[in-house]
Subunit: 435 residues, 2 copies
């Protein structure tokens, strides 16, 4: 009977701000970072579980401290019993009454819960010998519904309805999994559009993305209206009328400002406006959506938990639900969000980029296609071409599509030399005043 | 020109779980704790600023880590310039782009911001030689509006409207301040109703509270319907029909469960149901409110920031707005919330208890009366009779009313021996395996 013996916590940071990769109107100088967890069992036959949450630099150590606070709920657990009931495991983390006070289910303690939960799911998938999307896609409707914490969701969706919804998608699972293995899942790219790039770079990279097969690119907006209009116009001219251009304000605006700004960008036909205002502002997003239609409203990467997603759907506040693998309480919360989105008929287009977010979230989107929504229409996974070389099982994107992962696990594992090299503050990348 | 030279951070915990003081349906065993901050200037003529955020035990060290992450925005600041523009100081803390990722404006990083901000306001009031409520009540409408971060609020309230609203209340300020000094501010007490107390204790303490002059008591509910009905009925019989009895579910229910539970409690006329469901569920609170009227819905102690309060008011989700001194970004955010509540005509009844929350929040309620809402109707400050002996300037409650504080500052300062005695994990209360 193997037990979890040890949880290692590492503060890993990549000095991305040196080249302004990842910059936007709210985050001018991110250093992509991971509060990184490795779960070790006392039986060498049990694979280590790797997981992390993502931050943009300062404060990554606060997430590490929160992970250490959760460790008492993990060390000593029976491995077989835990991977057999991962919903219960997640609720064990989120229901600690004293730690819950620090959220509840939001902010640092939720990010830490994501890291720990992601690591346990990686372990579970490795133990099962399959990639995570396949582990999830092989679970029964009842098993999937049991993953969810239903306490605050039943006014929008009950466990029984979820089982029905999942049951209806069950017959087509095998065929859709084959489709994924053959054709992959469509991606869009944010790599051309960082706020800190000059116009020529944006246009050159947008053209290259189209040549590489992407049918959607994304530009960061929100800091300077004149520059945004100029850049969107030039990009539209460069890529032509068929390629979709999303714009992303990263929470920069209030509601009236968002509406006015989007009126100025509308002539260049952006396909969606992402995070026009505070991620907590459900009613604000609904007001923006009513005003900017037919431009769609996308949000969710900073929504803290399924209760916020529930309301975004109830209020008709989002055309595109953007899940994140590291901000809510891991896979279980994301299963809840996928089910809610399916119930309301809203497509899910995951947030990715950062460090390792592409690696994780591809599994969730593919599971959604196989076993939940059953659809790939109007759905794309974000892609950013940074930092994949640090992962043992990096994403493969070809012709603008994510290929289905085949290695067992959640694709979360950093290469040992990348982990050691980027430890903060004492790893070689940081020691000696770099950064 | 004095500057902030040092920020000391202390992990202070009180072993309240040993007697189940403070227990409720979600928090059976809290150890009331403070992540405690002391700001020291390089000039001995400048008083130290004391502040804290409140937690219930485990994870208090995570808040301390987050406070240390904010220290770079504090150390070295010019004291005179900072206290002259405390809105800018708060925005400096909440707008750090990398630390903002950990929230934004929620959870641990927001709790830490509260602690640091509260300490700076304590310093400012001590420097001015007045209690905090009086410092705020002496500011002009324009100065008060400048405290607020308006980015996400203008669809509900603009700075100009706030100045008008504050201007309208200006003529009566002096008279209301005199009223406060003479008669204090009404309180209600939660001390009788902890979940872990037996029925006889609840009834005995409720009767004693009424004898002491309280016109409202509060009971914790939500874990056991039969016990809740029995206890509420007995308490109603003990205190008679005139004394208000609030009930508090501490987020225990989903929306349908909250509605059903309150139907069973309605015959005993609770005056409000507090936190019936997730603090993030604006639309859920609105649904509960529509269903349980005329019982009022109270919430806010766990609402993370003014954007959530804005929506509670826009959606008609709350009859009673419960501010907390330590969960939002300090005094500046609470000024924003008081202004929003005044605009929507909803009374504010602060959350208190814990350790030191009564000491802090009395200042905010008294400022609201003097300079914002101008009203004391339907307003009460929560009172709990624990841990006041540890403060240098403890609250004084007589005849069911808070007396107006007179000492300079924010009443946040722990007595040195209490601070030293309760340091975690090495103070004498904790060393040797206590707790």
């Amino acid at each position: 009977m193997a037990r979890i013996q040890r949880i290692d916590v590492h503060d890993v940071r990549f000095p991305t701000s040196r080249l302004r990769h990842g910059s936007d109107a709210m985050n001018p100088d991110p250093d992509y970072s991971a509060a990184y967890v490795v779960l070790h069992a006392d039986d060498p036959a049990v694979p280590a579980g790797h997981g992390f949450t993502f931050t943009i630099g300062r404060g990554n150590e606060v997430c590490c401290a929160a992970i250490r606070a959760l460790a008492e709920h993990v060390v000593g657990l029976d491995v077989a019993a835990t991977v057999a009931d991962l919903g219960e495991f997640t609720r064990r983390l989120t229901h600690d009454p004293q730690l819950r006070w620090l959220g509840p289910e939001k902010g640092v303690i939720q990010l830490a819960t994501a890291a720990v939960s992601n690591a346990m799911w990686d372990l579970a998938a490795k133990l099962a010998g399959v990639p995570l999307w396949q582990l999830l896609s092989g679970m029964s409707p009842e098993q999937l519904a049991d993953l969810v914490d239903w306490r605050y969701l039943t006014d929008a969706l009950t466990a029984e309805e979820a089982v029905d919804l999942l049951g209806a998608a069950q017959p087509g699972r095998a065929g859709r999994a084959d489709q994924l293995r053959e054709h992959g899942y469509p991606a869009y790219t944010t790599s051309p559009g960082w706020w800190g790039y000059d116009d020529a770079t944006v246009i050159r990279l947008a053209r290259a993305a189209v040549r590489d097969g992407f049918r959607q690119v994304k530009l960061k907006v929100g800091a300077d209206l004149e520059a945004d209009v100029r850049r969107l116009k030039a990009t539209r001219e460069a890529v032509g009328p068929e390629v979709r251009i999303a714009v992303d304000a990263n929470q920069r605006w209030g509601v009236p400002e968002a509406i006015a700004w989007m009126a100025a960008l509308a002539p260049y036909h952006p396909c969606w406006i992402e995070e026009p205002t505070s991620p907590d502002d459900v009613l604000g997003h609904a007001a923006v959506r009513r005003a900017v239609a037919p431009i769609r409203v996308a949000t969710g990467e900073h929504a803290a938990n399924p209760v916020v997603f529930k309301q975004l759907l109830q209020a008709g506040a989002a055309d595109v639900v953007q899940i994140d693998a590291c901000r809510v309480a891991g896979v279980a919360d994301n299963v809840a969000i996928l089910l809610l989105a399916a119930k309301f008929g809203v497509p899910v287009c995951p947030h990715a980029g950062g460090v390792g977010l592409c690696e994780l979230v591809q599994h969730l989107a593919m599971f959604d296609y196989v076993a939940v929504s059953g659809s790939i229409a109007d759905r794309v996974i974000e892609y950013v071409d940074h930092l994949h070389e640090h992962f043992v099982d990096p994403v493969v994107v070809r012709g603008g599509r994510y290929l289905a992962p085949t290695a067992p696990g959640y694709s979360a594992q950093l290469r040992p030399e990348s982990l050691a090299g980027h430890l903060f503050p004492d790893g070689p990348v940081w020691a000696g005043g770099g950064g």
